[in-house]
Assembly symmetry: C2
Homo-oligomer: 537 residues x 2
Amino acid sequence: MKEKDLLARIGKLRTKSGTVETPLLFPVINPAIQPVTPSRLKEEFGFEAIITNAYILKKRYLNQPVETGLHKFLGYDGAIMTDSGAYQILIYGGVEIDQAEIISYQEAIGSDIATILDIPTGWKVTKNQASLTVEETLRRAKDFFKFKTRDDILWVGPVQGGRHLDLVAKSAIEMGKMPFQIHALGSPTEVMESYRFDVLVDMIMTAKKNLPIERPLHLFGAGHPIMFSLAIALGCDLFDSAAYALYAREKRYMTENGTWRLSELDYFPCQCPKCSRETPNEVLDKSAKEQEIFLAEHNLYACSGEFRRIKQAIRDGRLWEYVEIRAHSHPALLTAFKKLKEYKDLLEKHNPTVKRSGLFFSNSEGLSRPEVTHYRERLKERYSHPEESKVLLLAPQTYNKPFHKAREFQKIQQVLKILENNMLNKIHVCFYAAPFGVIPLELDEVYPLSQHDNSVPLEDTTICYVANEVASFVGRSHYEGVVLVHDPHNWSDRVKSACKKSCLDKGLKFNYLVLKEDSTKNILTRLEMILRKNLSE
Amino acid sequence: MKEKDLLARIGKLRTKSGTVETPLLFPVINPAIQPVTPSRLKEEFGFEAIITNAYILKKRYLNQPVETGLHKFLGYDGAIMTDSGAYQILIYGGVEIDQAEIISYQEAIGSDIATILDIPTGWKVTKNQASLTVEETLRRAKDFFKFKTRDDILWVGPVQGGRHLDLVAKSAIEMGKMPFQIHALGSPTEVMESYRFDVLVDMIMTAKKNLPIERPLHLFGAGHPIMFSLAIALGCDLFDSAAYALYAREKRYMTENGTWRLSELDYFPCQCPKCSRETPNEVLDKSAKEQEIFLAEHNLYACSGEFRRIKQAIRDGRLWEYVEIRAHSHPALLTAFKKLKEYKDLLEKHNPTVKRSGLFFSNSEGLSRPEVTHYRERLKERYSHPEESKVLLLAPQTYNKPFHKAREFQKIQQVLKILENNMLNKIHVCFYAAPFGVIPLELDEVYPLSQHDNSVPLEDTTICYVANEVASFVGRSHYEGVVLVHDPHNWSDRVKSACKKSCLDKGLKFNYLVLKEDSTKNILTRLEMILRKNLSE
């Protein structure tokens, strides 16, 4: 594993045809109607792996791929994964093949990664039906180990259950017990086609939570760049895309921002080699077949570009920011992104604690970030304020960071300097700041408390969160009094009321003064007075 | 003008070297150290226009460009704009040339678009200094018309004032009175370098408000793709970029999401022809000069790709959505985007009322959209409910649209069907919905009231907005009573309290019932009872 961010990871997967880097996209190859040859996929487009359907191969080409070997048959020397026909079951309902057959076929043709004959659950099925697919898939998974003869193939154990999360959990737990090298999550295609990315989040998180985390997870049939970043952030490592070719056949153009029909485009919203050289009008003048190839090639560039953006974001420690950008491509994606709130503990558990970049906080969704969860829990469980401190002086966040070095804070520090040392020791300065809540001065240079940028004005939800954190911090502290430097312009009255209430509940003295640029001197005098009064009592 | 969206427009600009399409980016040419030749800029990269500095040309090449003509001198047959040396004044403080000279030079070399010798205001200057630059620029603008001899050149009248908005306004008003073909907004470079995109919004909006709206506006020195969409949405038509080359020289790689140093990249986050063919490691192995050329070419592709995305967004009527996506690339951009709230009337004034696409609403920033402003004002000024209606029945938005055809609304319609006709006439059904507020049933198919998608859960700010709209609608209506179908799961208590208070203030009867999936029948019975009671009294 090279890099981690959220549940995403950049890793190496060793196959018998070479080592590939994950996250990885396998373009789906249909030898009969392939718009871009497998060898071009590798050499021109840089795809290190492809996937094809063993069931279709067997049905159409019989023994030919066995005789030549799959790699020679397809003219591709990278890693080749094969699916077993499960998707055909889902679409056409039933495949005239049994598992022993399709496993030995995959072994005979020499797949690098191969799949058992699972039963996809599908989308609009009752819990009973879904349960049957899970049970049957598990039964076949157990059977599979009796048939398997090759250990140099990476075998995929698919998780089913559809949107029935308890079934997904069960399926993941049982599959995870068996010695598969790779797992896959089945049947998300229809979930995505109906834009239920929120359900997809639930499905992926349920699978991840219950599978051995170190095994790669393949998300079956998820081939649109609009959702790659979200799925990768949740820990999906492998993807296959038939969409690049299917969309092309339907004259559809896909990007990480959405999909267009070719006829809707006046400009190509992309800078790939195809789109930089021609205009939509020029492409519309071509033959239908040429249009299809153009679109397939663009769609492939759109996918590979998006994978590189995501990998660089993982490397930068900016995957949250990247997923957030993408989430604004469609309200349904943003709905799914908001769902991460429910999984913030799981995200926190696996997220690296120190990253290379400062964090960007945009909207209140950022409150679900692992860094925020991590800090909140650590502050609560491991922090106690200096024993000698009697008065909590709470100052608002400054524009520049670290807070205690910022110009705005110098004014307050002037007052503190005037106080005698034995008084100064009794004052504990903390900042209230979005999105982290309360930041003790002595911690304000700890990553990432000073390494982040906010958008202003703050949202109500964020202000409420900080107000709650202030109240909770005061509630569990041992101060005798609190002095709040109140900043109604940026924080409304919420922090003040929450802090006041918490003081009242604990019987602490509460004072505040209002921060106004124009009466600096008065504020300082007042602050000094309050502090002296608090400490002399 | 072909297409409009927000203050953006796709238009044609006729120059003596041909017609170009706006919004348009002019790569800056420095003949001495040009990483990509002007002819390649046109043929390979598709740039229809370039800009170069007449002051530098004159200083370095003297009469040579006059003798050959500018187009031949640069080897470029598209439109060529020249700047006058104003930027050199800003950087080096003073240029050894007077206006008559530089104007006649621009005429002699045959610029297509040429600039008067304005005095840039700069960023960190006092109001007095700023005022002097504005006055002097205006004086020179007036003088200019005495010197000018060529009418086939498009002349640019720059607006100055920096961040002093009253000066920007004055400058724009006075410049706008003079017969320039194009205006420009001066000195945003430093504003952008310090990430004060919020100040840039103020500057651009102040200029736009006070200039003749039909004249193209050039934003000087704004060459980073991260902010093109925002500036174009606010009505900037022309841009120049020296950044593509300057960044390349400093080994910096720019994209619409931000900037990286080449050494920070493990993956190229882009699918342009350069980035699809090589990896960062391969490029790092090249010579410094080759690296610079690689980066300059990538930077150009990043810019032209972004322009195409923006133009397609204008064409789709999705520019708001696109700017919102980009605003999430940096908190400072989102801060600027939030500023649009202050300019919502100006945005509404120029935005087309019907677009090709449904709207996507993500965050509460969407409440500043022209469509929301437009509907709110129209509903207030032009709408009155049917005269015979006595009871307002307020139902929550449905997932599917139009609301009155959605499954969730069928239940309510069942009750209404039971009522006698003379009662039915007295009931007026409206929906409360984000982000539009109150939507009378008879209007719910009017664009864009049913042509939009929301992300859920709704933000507090959005819920409050809708609650206010409900209160205000009830407040100005002539009903005798209101029945609210309350949906606490999605709307908390805010709509209910606001509605109740408004009824109380007006002395109207107020009833509500809670929408719960499991007691449909009870709800219907209750609703019938309430309606009958209301109407029989």
